[in-house]
Amino acid sequence: MSEKEDPHVKYETHLWVEKYGDYLYRFALMRLRDPQVAEDTVQETFLAALKNLHQFDGRVDVKYWLRGILRNKSVDYVRKSVRRKELQDEQVQEVVGQLLFKTSGIPTTRPKDWAFDPDAAFAQEEFWAAFQACLQALPEQTRLVFQLKMVDEESTEEICKEMDITDNYLWVTLHRARAQLKTCLESKWSAA
């Protein structure tokens, strides 16, 4: 194969670690939290990318192509990990979902006001460090659902299909994520 046609040369695979290594590692850390798992997932991403390099058409930047593969690997990891560790938690969450409302459809609790002014907090860099810490403190699946749905704004249908969950379960998970984030932010930010 001539150098011109070789996708390794065309897409500069020898520079991937230098150009995208830390970027992908941070992305994996945000999704998976554990540094070793994040590192292994970046490695799996490179291996998958090399395997499929001949199919890559270059229509998107290599960085975002690699990030897309890493995103899918992260979802796979969490889905398998949750199946192993959090099956009972899933059942509990379904129950929690039922308890938020009485059978008449009237809420059991009234949402509480924020203990701080969110709009004023948004303008401060330290708030986002607190937000990230609170996001990282959420249980694995809850964190990923929040990131995919709220941060990345992916479709409910796609997330449910990939994570093998029902839309009701996704709704309960998001409700729980918001409640836990609010409590965490109020303790970290209001106390600051």
Binding site: T13, D22, Y23, R26, F46, L50, I106, M150
Partner: protein, 92 residues
């Protein structure tokens, strides 16, 4: 059609709003307007949406950061990854 608070919060959370008929959209808006609980719930959902969108921008800055304080792959991990890339290139 009458919505209960549970149905309203479901519609708001599941983003089914666009799928509703004009009459249902009106009924939902009216419920949120007159019901203090759903009104507050809606405000909080919207605030979280706002927060998540702002965070998305911060996340990009964090991922692109070249600050030494930002997490990065250690030299051993970089070498292992580089070896994989170099070997694959050699084999091609």
């Amino acid at each position: 059609m009458f919505f209960t608070c549970k149905q309203v919060s479901n519609q708001l959370s599941k983003e089914d709003y666009e799928k509703l008929s004009p009459l249902d959209k009106f009924t939902l808006k009216f419920h949120v307007w007159i019901c203090p609980i759903c009104g507050k719930y809606n405000q909080q959902v919207m605030k979280f949406q706002d927060m998540a969108r702002n965070f998305r921008l911060k996340q990009e800055e964090y991922l692109e950061s070249d600050s030494p304080e930002s997490p990065h792959l250690d030299e051993k991990a970089k070498k292992r990854l580089q070896d994989i890339l170099d070997q694959d290139k050699k084999a091609s």
